[in-house]
Symmetry: C2
Subunit: 434 residues, 2 copies
């Protein structure tokens, strides 16, 4: 017996069904926002990651040398791929570009509760707009998707921050601070012990007292305090941009889901402006459900024209979003659904086939016997796939020009004329003949 690979999952039909419903909902909300579907390769040249993050990142990737000697990797995220695609078409693409896609990604990391090596994301990105409305549209899409999935503002909270507020504050200390290291420290603020957190800030170049001062600023109620502390254009503009994004989010219906939380830093180095992470308000789902933000430099870093960008990646399937939906009690039922089972008794396949084909052509989910089985086991199968109506096409009934129509929920059944019962209604059921 073969095993599947550790960190990978098989999804059988009943468990797949709520995932499909979730993905379809998220995709349809994205479609209504005008995010257009793209499809992207599972493999890329590894340098899309190593050039920016260094060769060590390979340890976290499914990277390998292909038969042609190329250093390739199974993609751990979408952003570098869409950046490459934007660069490749350059000026051909009219701006703003709004793309979406849902697919798996792969990361060679420690397998633990709720973390898999293969995980799925719906990515949504806007390229070519630095306006706060673009950030707000991404926030509004994400909020709308969660609401459409059944969540409310009681269930989730977008913690919103701005990279240049953090960066600008750090820069205003009279020291040689490693900003990226300090931002990574901030990202761990809620995840590690205070001593470790302050230690990381000290490693990044702050003194202990400065680290404390910096930490206090993160909790400032009035963002003007930050502007005054730093006294730089960078922080003033960043605070202004964050406020503008929140105002646009108000107009787009997403403000109520947002809380400013400057310690929301996002781990990835390519973010440049507003960043946000979605959290479970109850804390039961302990880590970030998903996140996104602005990454204005990446397209240029990849060799393209300067192109501002902002996006979000919602983890679906093997990810945290299903955990949040389950916690909130809005996870769709794990069940199959079937409109009709057409049951044959004796040599009635031809007549049953007529019924099956007609009902399928009307768009219904219709099953029939494909295993040469008897009445009982066909009925058991129909029950197993949650058939709503069973139509029994039996030799003796047919001699009388009839079929039997059985409502599975109630167990009630009645006969109907074979010649006309398909005409009784678009979806003929027990009620039409009882």
């Amino acid at each position: 017996m073969y095993e599947r690979i550790k960190g990978f999952r098989d999804f059988y039909p009943a468990e797949m069904s709520p995932h499909r419903e979730t993905i379809d909902t998220v995709e349809s909300v994205a479609a209504r926002y005008g995010f257009r579907e793209i499809a992207t390769p599972a493999l890329e040249h590894a340098e899309l990651w190593t050039d920016k993050s260094g060769d060590d990142i390979v340890d976290e990737l499914y990277a390998f040398e292909d038969k042609g000697g190329r250093h390739v990797t199974m993609t751990p995220e979408l952003t570098p791929t869409v950046a490459r695609m934007v660069v490749a078409k350059g000026q051909e693409l009219s701006k703003p570009i709004k793309w979406r896609s849902t697919r798996p990604f792969w990361r060679y990391e420690q397998v633990q509760q709720g973390r898999f090596r293969e995980f799925y994301q719906t990515n949504v990105d806007v390229f070519g707009s630095s306006a706060p409305e673009a950030d707000a549209e991404v926030l509004a899409f994400a909020a709308d998707a969660l609401v459409e999935l059944g969540l409310t503002s009681e269930d989730f909270d977008f913690k919103v921050s701005h990279r240049d507020i953090l960066g600008g504050l750090l820069e205003s200390f009279d020291r040689d601070v490693d900003t990226e290291a300090a931002i990574r420290a901030v990202d761990k603020r809620e995840k590690v012990e205070p001593a470790e957190y302050y230690g990381l800030l000290e490693d990044a170049g702050l003194t202990y007292d400065e680290a404390r001062q910096f930490d206090d600023l993160l909790d400032a109620d009035d963002r003007q305090e930050l502007v005054e502390f730093a006294g730089t254009d960078r922080v003033r503009e960043a605070v202004g941009n964050l406020d503008a994004v929140l105002e646009a989010a108000e107009d787009f219906g997403a403000r109520e889901y947002c809380t400013v939380a400057l310690d929301t830093a996002r781990g990835l180095d390519y973010y440049t402006g507003v960043v946000f992470e979605c959290f479970d308000t109850t804390g039961e789902v302990g880590r970030s459900v998903f996140g996104g933000g602005r990454y204005d430099d990446l397209i240029e870093d990849f060799g393209g024209q300067p192109t501002p960008a902002v996006g979000v990646a919602l983890g679906v399937m093997n990810s945290t979003l299903p955990l949040l939906l389950q916690r909130a009690g809005v996870w769709p039922e794990e069940a199959l659904s079937t409109d009709y089972y057409v049951l044959t008794v004796g040599d009635t396949r031809s007549e049953a086939g007529t019924v099956v084909r007609e009902l399928r052509s009307r768009g219904y989910v219709v099953e029939t016997d494909v295993a040469d089985r008897g009445f009982g086991s066909q009925l058991g199968y129909a029950d197993g796939v949650n058939a709503e109506t069973v139509i029994v096409v039996g030799e003796r009934d047919l001699e009388n020009g009839e079929v039997t129509v059985k409502e599975m929920d109630s167990g009630e059944e009645t006969t109907a004329p074979f010649d006309s019962f398909l005409d009784a209604a678009d979806r003929p059921t027990y009620d039409d003949f009882a």
Copy 2:
């Protein structure tokens, strides 16, 4: 500038749109047949392929050693994975099992016209039924999907054969024939020169005269000739099974798409019974569009209970099916579609936002300005995404309590009351106010 990997494709929105429409059609036909969606890993242990096909197959795979020393491969096909999944759940799964899925696969092969290293398939399989109805259901699904995509019996032809007819005929020669090699030769009958074809049959153990005799049998009009030539139960049963499948296909509406063609052998060694391949009747698409068949031994080979199986894999996206649809003139248009563009002039984001949110909540595709652009470039964008209706929310119009509703096709426009135009119709357009 980064390049994508050779043999892989990016799908931008306009080119993606007909692929999405095609996949949705195929998936929805499969759903109506009661094939239930599953999701499966991109990586498997390489031994799922090497145990059966030998280590050389690794040359055609994206196989590598992962960071934990596992010999893994990006999956080149679905069948071994679903076989593994059936074995893993064993008796828990009620039979027949009917599964479907659409996803990419990967094969390290020569890149040529229409052949990619990443290609997509919709796989549909029935497990647990040896009845001819199961084969017929797979044929009927495939035919129905093609018809739903706009093709007719004039466009495509399923060439149907049976492995045991070929195998049984070969066995009836009084020689030590390498059956699998001979079947691979038959698979090449239409693809190579006669001399090479007969040479391959001779390599498999037949004399030249026997090869000619065998070849004549493949074209026999009356299948009883085959039964008589072989004189074995195996061939008699295989012919009976093929006839039974064709009869069931008649009842299921698929017979008209099927032609018996005994030289349809399918390259893969795991097939055991009826096999079929779909061809373009005009021959313009020169190779098999897709194929499928019965593989009754694989689940047992994988360590499971004996479980008959039959399935088909329709190549979508980077595959031959789009070529056939294009050849037949039924390929969907490569275009974006947008119901509304809500255009802002001046400081009207809040009012525009109300309109946008309401129309999106009704399910329409609605875009608005997220790039702080002027009237002209917003209108150009709206045109670029094929917006049907543009609603201009302008400061001056709003002072009069009005918005402008513009029909993009005709260029006609009219004003409508801001307070009530959303109530005029579920989908308010120019016609409601002109």
